[in-house]
Amino acid sequence: MSSDPWPGEWLRGVLDVCVLAVLAEGSTYGYAITARLDELGLGSVKGGTLYPLLVRLEQADLVTTQWRPGVGGPGRKYFALTPAGRAELSRRGSAWRAFADLTVAIVDPSADPTAAAFAASAPSERLPTPRRTA
């Protein structure tokens, strides 16, 4: 999935919201999205991972596409965020921030006062009750 050290299962969970965030900067094309994600520290995402994700975003009406002719080349397919995509980025972005804060608090309780308070709370208050599965 990526040549960088982030585990693939982490990237699978976060890649769609990161791609939405890159597209929120302006409409752009496939390799530019990969390059931007790499520049932001996420690693080098392969085309085989990126394009199926973009297909799913387009099918969900979060992204629109447009082919623009290239100069002596095959042309470029540009991707742009729709209003629904911006709303989804806002919603998923907030959820990720909360999730990231939570995981930081769990992994490193001394990192900040909020985390310390979280760590000091009773385990039954901070962890969901395990579900019994059949």
């Binding site: 496939g30 392969k46 085309g47 085989g48 394009y51 297909v55 080349g73 095959p74 397919k77």
Partner: protein, 250 residues
């Protein structure tokens, strides 16, 4: 697969063909396949990677692109109609070739012949449906289709050899005329249908002129419609030539 598409040097023809085949087996339209190829072209040209390094194995990539799309199966009635149309020309071809091979003045139509035609029809429909059902797993689909084809051909040969009771005899001249009419008539109907509404769906580049794409699809359909008559002409020519050669040698 009779389409043309210029790919960047980074995409090997083998990788491209495998991807097109994998997408075809998942019923992806030609225009969408053209778009996917253009995306691969663009990404490889920008990144400097080859297609295998950037997109992985073609079959896996095709699967990931279509994973979220539900597969639509052709109704049985459509498969029967398509096969039935093809069978008209096929019967014409068999009749013409049989008359050329047959030494006597009349063509004997046997029970085995008639049952064999029914078996061919069922075998063709089964092959199409087996491929449609098992396409996502490529080797399994190919193996199942190959099994159906071998079983069909075996049954047809066995029926022809075992059930030799003659149902009717037709003079060769009449049989050849009927066979040729079936062949040419089927091709003419196919040509008219192609001009009205082509069923071919060649791969086309993003932004290609729709009228140009339609013309290519019409041409592909017309070519397919005249394949059997062309095959009959070549086959008859070869058989007559061999007969003449054997007569001279005898």
């Amino acid at each position: 697969m009779t389409d043309t598409w210029s790919t960047a040097p980074t995409i090997s023809p083998g990788w491209r063909d495998e991807l097109v085949l994998a997408l075809r087996m998942r019923d992806v339209p030609g225009s969408r396949i053209g778009e996917i190829l253009a995306e691969v072209d663009e990404f490889c040209a920008d990144s400097g990677l080859d297609a295998q390094a950037a997109f992985g194995a073609p079959a896996t990539y095709a699967e990931s692109l279509t994973a979220s799309e539900g597969r639509t199966r052709t109704p049985l009635r459509d498969d029967l109609r398509t096969t039935g149309r093809a069978l008209v020309g096929f019967v014409g071809l068999v009749v013409v070739m049989a008359c050329v091979v047959d030494d006597g003045p009349d063509l004997a139509i046997t029970v085995g012949w008639l049952l064999g035609l029914a078996v061919v029809l069922v075998g063709c429909v089964l092959t199409v449906r087996v491929l449609g059902r098992t396409a996502p797993v490529r080797w399994r689909g190919m193996a199942a289709a190959a099994g159906v084809i071998v079983a069909t051909l075996g049954a047809v040969v066995a029926l022809g050899m075992l059930l030799t009771t003659t149902v009717a005899t037709v003079p060769d001249a009449v049989a050849v005329t009927v066979g040729a009419l079936l062949l040419v008539g089927d091709a003419i109907v196919g040509t008219v249908r192609a001009r009205r509404q082509p069923t071919a769906d060649l791969v086309s580049a993003p932004g290609a002129d729709p009228e140009w794409v339609r013309r290519r699809n019409v041409r592909a359909d017309i070519l397919a419609a005249w394949l059997l008559p062309a095959f009959a002409v070549v086959g008859v020519g070869i058989l007559l030539g061999m007969n003449a050669l054997l007569d001279r040698l005898a």
